[in-house]
């Protein structure tokens, strides 16, 4: 599957294309299939998200996940500070990306 991601203009936070809008949560990410380039062009024009790009992903039991470790870390936060991830205080959060 293909995922579209970028960083929110105002906050810089990692954001994922849901099929209709952007979400901070990887769980909401949609498979953009072959439409990624067209969405990317339109969203760059809208200027809400910085430097959006298309990545490879995979569907897992927990929902969509990026294929590469860098984007998995982007999706959940630094592995060394699980308290700063989108699931605060989840002790397993830091291991999730490995």
């Amino acid at each position: 599957m293909k995922l579209l991601t970028g960083n929110d203009l105002k906050t810089g936070f990692v954001t994922w294309w849901t099929g209709a809008d952007w979400s901070l949560h990887i769980e909401d990410a949609a498979d953009v299939g072959e439409a990624g380039e067209a969405i990317l062009a339109a969203e760059e024009g809208a200027r809400r998200v910085n430097a959006p790009y298309i990545i490879n992903g995979e569907q897992t039991a927990d929902g969509p996940r990026p294929a590469h470790i860098k984007d998995r870390i982007r999706a959940l936060g630094p592995t060394v500070r699980p308290d700063l991830t989108l699931k605060p205080a989840d002790p397993a959060a830091g291991d999730w990306v490995i």
Binding site: N7, A51, R74, V80
Partner: protein
């Protein structure tokens, strides 16, 4: 400490206003990211993995308690309650919102700080010896010269668009605590027949092509220092490569020209530059130097230290250094608790260090390139009180220059350039070697980790260096041995095939075991490595 004059204030305030307007235009969609990116980078604002990252300059690593408290305030109000002290003696915040950037820069300006020239192809923050003004072995305080260079390089119209970034370090002691020869220009203030001058080492650096700076001029009269630096930069700006980012640093130019030819061109340029009157009048330098006057230290203060508390005694032996004034000491605060994140400090810890500086260190602190903090002027009689306060805040780890005092870049946990994580490797190594007796048995051992070839973690200069690489989508770690960023400067040699995260920790243990087996009396790790060479270590690592 240097205090801004009206020109400094005007420059910084004007930049804050200018950048605030640029941010407004970006948020309003009036300019694109491509247009905005070079503008934000000029103000130290990067876009990293999780958010914007702001790098704040700490000129030559010196700051006062008011400034330190402001760093804590920014961490608390605008970030996630911590900051990361860097190998360039700066601080970085990892979770900055673009819309907050103007307010942050205003807050910084209110305490005479900024983020200007902490990015971009310009002259970056001038770094220096963290013990400047306090070290028993220095011939003078190098910071007035560093400040002069700061003023000269700030918004320098000719050097705002260099072929690549440019880093300068200034020291004034034979012991190099600033990795001086691994800078684009390393300046050592030296004494020659009772006169002080500047030795210029040019063309050093780490990154993908590490080089040790050759000596270009052994003695430049200090009255000519700025002109000589200007000449060094002009030759680079004229001939440095702009067609290939990987060959754009001055080290490549000097390597290709040869040091002799580069020196000839600099000398020729210097004759012209000197006629331009760049060097400041003595009165101006004296104005700057007066602000670095030594604090009023009482040389008759008691020299004895009550070592009856054994934990305190261990900390004194490892983290406290000799001061040039009797009865005083230099306190090195380790930001490397076992299992912690090298260089990170919470806002509460930053505030505490500011309080201690105000109460016990004549209001001064330093940031070190090894990602620690220094209280430079502490009475020996106050050491116990300082240690108690640090210990209560988790800041009294007695591991300065030991194997767990690890330099590590943010790595793939934060950095968009990184290929592998650095911090978890540092944590695992520190945990493996957590026994202090074992660390002290190993003695001085500088371990440095970078998460990519850009070498922000100085791995080339580590007695043991680790470079994280991406090997077909998996983190892999190359080990190197024998580097040094000190006066015995050298570049590490790669041992062989890399390891996974746990494998590199095991390999380091085999390396240190081999060192203990091979060393002779008084030899540090790096000394043994230089004596016996790579072969026995390679045998120990790979069998």
């Amino acid at each position: 400490m240097y205090k801004y004059d009206e020109y400094d204030h005007a420059m910084v305030d004007a930049r804050v206003a200018e950048f605030s307007d640029q941010v407004r235009r970006r948020l309003a969609g009036e300019i694109t990211e491509d247009q905005f990116k070079p503008l934000r980078l000029m103000n130290g604002l990067y876009l990293q993995l999780h958010a914007y990252m702001l790098r704040v300059a700490v000129p030559y690593g010196t700051l006062d308690s008011r400034q330190m408290r402001m760093l804590a305030h920014i961490a608390r109000k605008y970030d996630r309650d911590y900051g990361h002290f860097t190998t360039r003696q700066n601080i970085q915040y990892n979770w900055i919102k673009l819309e907050d950037a103007p307010a942050i820069l205003e807050d910084l300006a209110s305490v005479e700080m900024h983020a200007i020239q902490t990015s971009g192809n310009c002259i970056r923050n001038i770094s220096s010896d963290q013990w400047a003004g306090a070290a028993a072995d220095e011939i003078t305080d190098p910071r007035p010269w560093a400040e002069l260079l700061r003023q000269w390089s700030s918004f320098h119209p000719e050097f705002s668009y260099l072929p690549r970034k440019f880093k300068i370090a200034v020291i004034a002691a034979n012991e190099d605590r600033a990795a001086m020869r691994l800078h684009d220009i390393g300046i050592q203030i030296v004494d020659k027949d009772g006169q002080h001058g500047a030795a210029f080492y040019v063309g050093g650096g780490m990154g993908r092509t590490p080089m040790i700076a050759p000596l270009i001029k052994d003695f430049v009269p200090l009255d000519d220092m700025l002109s000589y630096a200007e000449a060094c930069l002009r030759v680079y700006n004229r001939y440095g490569r702009r067609d290939n980012i990987y060959k754009a640093r001055i080290k490549i130019l000097i390597h290709e020209l040869g040091a002799d030819e580069y020196r000839r061109q600099v000398e020729e340029e210097f004759k012209h530059v000197k006629s331009l009157g760049i060097d400041p009048p003595k009165a101006e330098f004296d104005r700057i130097a007066a602000q670095f006057a030594p604090p009023p230290l009482d040389a008759s203060a008691p020299d004895a230290i009550d070592r009856s508390d054994p934990d305190f005694a261990v900390w004194v032996d490892q983290n406290v250094a000799a001061h040039k004034v009797s009865g005083h000491a230099i306190v090195n605060i380790s930001l490397k608790p076992i299992g912690g994140i090298p260089g990170d400090a919470s806002s509460a810890q930053i505030d505490l260090m500011a309080d201690l500086a105000e109460k016990y260190s004549h209001d001064e602190l330093r940031v070190t390139h090894a990602q620690n903090i220094v209280l430079p002027h502490v009475r020996k009689a106050d050491l116990y009180a300082v240690w108690q306060a640090l210990d209560a805040a988790g800041l009294a780890t007695p591991n300065l220059d030991l194997i767990s005092d690890i330099i590590a870049c943010p790595g793939l946990d934060y950095c968009s350039l990184a290929n592998a994580r650095s911090i978890p490797v540092a944590q695992k190594i520190a945990t493996r070697f957590s026994d202090l007796g074992r660390q002290k048995e190993l003695g001085e051992l500088k371990l440095k980790i970078s998460g990519c070839i850009n070498a922000c973690g100085h791995h080339h200069a580590g007695h043991i260096g680790i470079l994280g690489v991406d090997r077909k989508g998996t983190e892999n770690y190359q080990l190197s041995l024998g580097g040094s960023g000190a006066e015995d400067v050298s570049l590490g040699t790669i041992t062989g095939p890399g390891f996974d995260e746990d494998g590199v920790v095991d390999a380091i243990e085999r390396v240190t075991d081999k060192y203990l087996a091979e060393r002779t009396e008084g030899e540090r790790f790096v000394d043994t490595f230089r004596r016996v060479g790579m072969a026995p270590f390679k045998e120990a690592i790979y069998g």
